[in-house]
């Protein structure tokens, strides 16, 4: 044990101290590539952010990238959108929907993944059935008719249940459970644990790295979603998620120049709403990333 430890230290020292020239070149290239991707990802968002702080009339005439507010710093765009009562409701609804959707979707995917990973008579047929739904669908209107028959039209259930899982997530979870060494299951079995406790207490924590990826995808997907809401709860604004509110604000504003006395600050709305929609995610994300990384590393250590 001690020898191994020493070797490990040597290896780590090695890494720090004797970097070859080739290593350094690789380093430079790697850092440059990553920095470039990061920059490209952020630059357009920066453009939007700075545009949202600009002066409407000057921005309309501006050509090229906006690196700094054009025509002076203003908050006109934001004051226009936050004047509206429905935007706060939109935030609340989106948060509720995102939490519910993610929890239901994750549990369903995890339970299904576990069931699929066990040796049962249903393993094959259910996998095939899942693959089929990945490829074939009845279309928007038949789905609408089923959801109407369930009595979900005009309720939030039409937004948080349909689409909360999909074949890919179930199969991904199945693979994650399959990747857990068989000895774990055997040990758990010998300890007298049932399937439920094996699933939730022993194997799911191990599969959480894949689980977090699915949780992230579910949460971000629901946060950005507006199409289902426009189909299932179009007439009740109290149920609209943020993205639908924002979409409608943008659309209502598209022809603001038609007004005989156009308010140029309205030009800023299209930029301000983008920021308003993504700011909460971007602020919340690092905390979540922290948790996720811990989960992933834990999973890795245990596995």
């Amino acid at each position: 044990m001690a020898r191994k430890q020493r070797k490990k230290e040597e290896w780590e020292n090695n890494m720090v101290e004797t970097k070859s020239v080739a290593d350094r070149i690789v380093d430079v290239i790697v850092y440059l590539c990553v920095a470039l991707v990061a920059l490209c990802s952020v630059l357009p968002m920066w453009h939007v952010l700075m545009s949202s702080f600009s002066d409407g009339k000057s921005l309309l005439a501006h050509v090229g990238l906006v690196l700094w507010p054009v025509g002076g710093f203003t908050l006109d765009g934001y004051s226009l959108i936050f004047q509206r009562a429905d935007i706060v409701g939109g935030y609340i609804n989106t948060i509720i929907y995102t939490v519910a959707f993610t929890v239901i979707g994750f549990l369903l995917s995890a339970v299904t993944g576990y069931a699929l990973s066990r040796d049962t008579k249903l393993k094959k047929p259910v996998t095939m059935a899942l693959m089929v739904t990945m490829l074939f669908g009845g279309g928007m209107v038949p789905t609408y008719m089923i959801i109407r028959a369930l009595g979900w039209v005009g309720t939030p259930w039409a937004l948080v249940i349909p689409g909360c899982t999909n074949s890919m997530y179930c199969i991904m979870m199945m693979n994650a459970f399959n990747a857990i060494p068989r000895e774990m299951y055997e040990a758990s079995h010998i300890d007298g644990a049932g399937h439920l406790s094996t699933l939730f207490e022993i194997t799911l924590p191990q599969a959480m790295n894949m689980g977090s990826v699915i949780i992230l995808n579910l949460a971000v997907g629901q946060w950005n979603s507006w199409l289902p809401a426009s189909i299932y709860v179009p007439n009740n604004k109290a149920l609209w998620p943020l993205q639908l509110v924002i979409n409608s604000i943008t659309k209502e504003n598209a022809d603001f120049l038609n007004s005989s006395n156009p308010n140029y600050a309205r030009y800023l709305i299209q930029f301000a709403v983008i920021i308003a929609a993504i700011a909460p995610i971007i602020i919340a994300f690092p905390f979540f990333q922290d948790k996720m990384e811990k989960g992933v590393i834990q999973g890795g250590v245990k596995g």
Partner: protein, 318 residues
Amino acid sequence: MAKKNAYDLAASSRRSWKTELRRDWVVYLLFVPIIVYEIVLHYLPMFGIVMAFEDYNVVDGYFHSPWVGLKHFVDLFSGEDFPQAIGNTVIIGVMRATIGFVAPIIFALILSLINSKKFKRTAQTMSYMPNFVAAVIVCSLFKQFLDKDGPLTLFLTNVFGAENQNWFANNHPPAFWIIYLLMGIWQSIGWGSIMYVAAISQVSGDLHEAAALDGATRLQRLFKITLPSIMPMILMMFVINVGTALAAGYDNILLLYKPHTYNVADTVYTYTYRQAFGEGNTNYSLSAASGLFQSLVSTILLVGSNALSRKAAGSSLF
């Protein structure tokens, strides 16, 4: 013996349903939610597929509209611009299933070479940002940026001497294809890499250690250890990607193309959309027929790529 039986993967098929249910009723119970979910929300709506074979009208409904057999498929395939649409779909699909698919993997691999935790995290977080922006907005941003006086166009003109033009109006291949591909990569490179980053972080440190002691350089370890260990996941994602390459992700083109760029931008999806929901002549049946056609092709692709993956790498999705 009992232990062996319990984890023999083919054991279930040898037992009767009755024994199975008595033994593992909990697992069978766990199947219930997904089976109900799939039947209600996915299989029941599939009755809509019959539309593809009838002249659907609302009064007669799904089950009494006149049956026309394969008429809509014939209409679809005999359309003048259909071959062009197929061609563009294949080109864009192949580009996305190869370059577009590999980009996040490469990004994840490159990220794994970075030692500075802080830098890595910041870069990762930054690269996720485009994923938080709705597709409609991404399209309008790209249109703005690539317009004749857009920042990106000006950059290309001033730095690389490219002709000053509205890039989305360029109907000479392969401009549109490349732009569309890059747009997809921009949107998904960071987010798409999460899964691979998670998988890479799981690769046992001992393996790297041992390899390093044997004198393997970082790049060698990348190709000898990291890449093979995430290969099963890559293959799984590849199979799924190929299967969905034809069917998904073309709706944004509706926002980006113009009649004079149809020759490079028209795809099966957009072509059908115009035929089915064009001026005043909404044709749901044609749209259903096209959907069914795309599903069938996707099935073939999925089964094919799965077989390929099984043959080449010994692992497959199903």
